[in-house]
Amino acid sequence: MSLIGKGILKGMGVTAKNFFQSYYRKERLPTVEYPEEKATINQFSRNFPFLLYDGDDPVDGMRCTACTLCERACPPQCIYIIKDKDENGKAILSPRIFDIDTSVCMSCQLCVEVCPYEAIRMDSAFELSNENRFEGLLLNREELLKPNAYYHEIHPLEARETDDRMAAKAALAEAKKKARQKRARLAAKNKPPPGLKKTPPTRKKPPQREKSE
């Protein structure tokens, strides 16, 4: 027959231990004084997407080409893109409108995974509480565009990897372009144009030819 109340006393011993150790052991008092101290986010945290641009001008350096892959991949359909058109009405590869509704976004990162141009990335900013339902929460293109330096600041590791990948891609594209120019020059040398000069077919063929090489 054990002492009645022994279990409760033991439990109280545990709480007392926790209480006294909270004065000198960090793991017993893990409180982060948030507004004064930095929040507990790390460089992998994600919250809402943003758009990246290179250089100084947000609109000119925009990486997005309005391919709408992210719009299709978004599970709650919170991305809205309209392609830009030049003055002749021809579509150009950049979005005129790029809206993300943060009041719908579920922070799933699927848009980042499908983007082939490394243009959309996840932001880790979370202090977004707002008193305006529509004006404050619907982010348009200008609010979404952020420089690459900001990306390096919030996700240093990921940004470095992205830059390396983009540099490799650019080098490859450069090499391909050079090879194509060389071929064109060689073709021009071997066959002086008798008058019929068709560039479109040669432009279409290179991908197939490169594969065979």
């Binding site: 022994k6 279990g7 409760i8 033991k10 439990g11 986010i41 992998f44 990162q109």
Partner: protein
């Protein structure tokens, strides 16, 4: 003359007929602090004894299955996080498992090990938090729950480094996992796993011998072995009734056949056994975690998954031992990138069916802790 003296002398009778009292109907919920969300129990009470109980749910019916039948297979992955919002990782795994059965993707070794690690970490989160809620219902307001939340934050930090989010991880993909753990993650994981048994010791000293918990939870809400099988209960609820059935042992999905662990079994099937089974399961999870971290191989993390997920017409059912029981996803494909039928077999919904049986004859206050011991999450019950 004071009003007390004017009242007629009272007389007390024992027995329903003498009092002539009617049955009292109480709607408990959907706004009630102990119903773990938006759940309602329509109770019929004779005095304080429960004579009938009708669970009413659907207050959080978010059309998960219907939405999933409208979007492509990979797009449903973040929605599965929101099913049982305490255990995002296991939900992801169950869905990935059934999709992998549908199209037969080979998962690389390293990804399998990472899946085991995150799933067992999820089990730790779920069980220590659930025990906090359970004793909260018993009247231990705050303190055990605060300790559980303190440990949970450490594991959520691990998840955040790994996947970017604390709860809605969206980490496991068809054929592997999304990204490799960054440098130092495993070391940190090892440190937390090594320190966890100390917390469990403390938690057990705090709770298991407590006379109030013993008096309130033992012999309350008993489900016998046969009844548990008939109710098709799964998970810790089934094992607390003495049935040795763990899908990790029975199905051996993933690589669970490589680990050495035991399945804790209860003998009485009451609330206290369900609480103790979870307590002991955490110890086994720590054991699995230690083995998995030790054996984690190098290599690829993604198998050869097709770019566009378009399975051949057919069906698949993948199930895992989620912290709450058997979580299964049943998919029917008609050859398009969108599932024809998407069905979730939620463990807490099926376990909830035993609630009426367990509560009958007990007091109202016991109904609260019986509900707490089932371990329901309304996102999963209502979907």
């Amino acid at each position: 003359m004071s009003p007390v003296q004017t009242m007629p002398p009272r007389s007390y009778h024992i027995g329903k007929d003498d009092l002539g009292a009617d049955i009292l109907e109480v709607a408990m919920g959907p706004h009630h602090p102990s119903t773990h969300g938006v759940f309602r129990m329509d109770l019929k009470l004779d005095g304080e004894t429960v004579v009938d109980l009708k669970p009413v749910f659907g207050y959080l019916h978010r059309n998960h299955e219907k939405i999933a039948e409208d979007i492509t297979y990979p797009m449903s992955m973040p929605f599965t996080d929101r099913l049982d919002y305490l255990c995002g990782m296991t939900n992801n795994w169950a869905y990935a498992l059934s999709a992998e059965k549908l199209i037969e993707i080979k998962v690389p070794e390293r990804a399998e090990y990472i899946r085991v690690i995150v799933a067992e970490l999820t089990r730790l989160v779920n069980h220590c938090l659930l025990i906090g809620f359970f004793v909260n219902d018993l009247g231990a307001l705050g303190t055990p729950l605060l300790y559980a939340l303190r440990e949970r934050e450490k594991i959520l930090d691990l998840f955040e480094v790994l996947s970017g989010a604390r709860m809605m991880v969206n980490y496991i993909r068809f054929g592997g996992v999304r990204c490799d753990p960054p440098d130092g993650w495993l070391k940190e994981c090892q440190r937390i796993v090594d320190a966890f048994p100390a917390f469990l010791d403390e938690y057990e000293t705090l709770l298991t011998e407590n006379e109030i918990i013993i008096a309130r939870a033992q012999n309350v809400g008993v489900v016998t072995r046969e009844e548990a099988i008939n109710f098709s209960l799964t998970g810790p609820m089934l094992r607390a009734s003495g049935v040795n059935y763990d899908i990790r042992k029975v199905d051996r999905y993933g690589i669970y056949d490589r680990f050495d662990f035991k399945v804790p079994i209860g003998g009485h099937g009451d609330c206290y056994d369900r609480f103790m089974v979870r307590m002991l399961e955490m110890r086994q999870s720590v054991k699995i975690l230690k083995q998995a971290i030790r054996d984690l191989p190098e290599g690829e993390i993604m198998g050869k998954a097709p770019k566009i997920f378009r399975p051949a017409p057919g069906e698949a059912y993948g199930r895992i031992e989620a912290p709450k029981g058997e979580l299964g996803f049943y998919l029917i494909s008609d050859g398009t990138p969108i599932p024809y039928r998407f069905k979730v077999r939620p463990p807490s919904f099926v376990n909830l069916t035993a609630l009426r049986h367990m509560c009958l004859g007990h007091k109202v206050a016991d109904a609260v802790i019986i509900l707490g011991s089932i371990d329901i999450v309304l996102g999963e019950v209502d979907r």
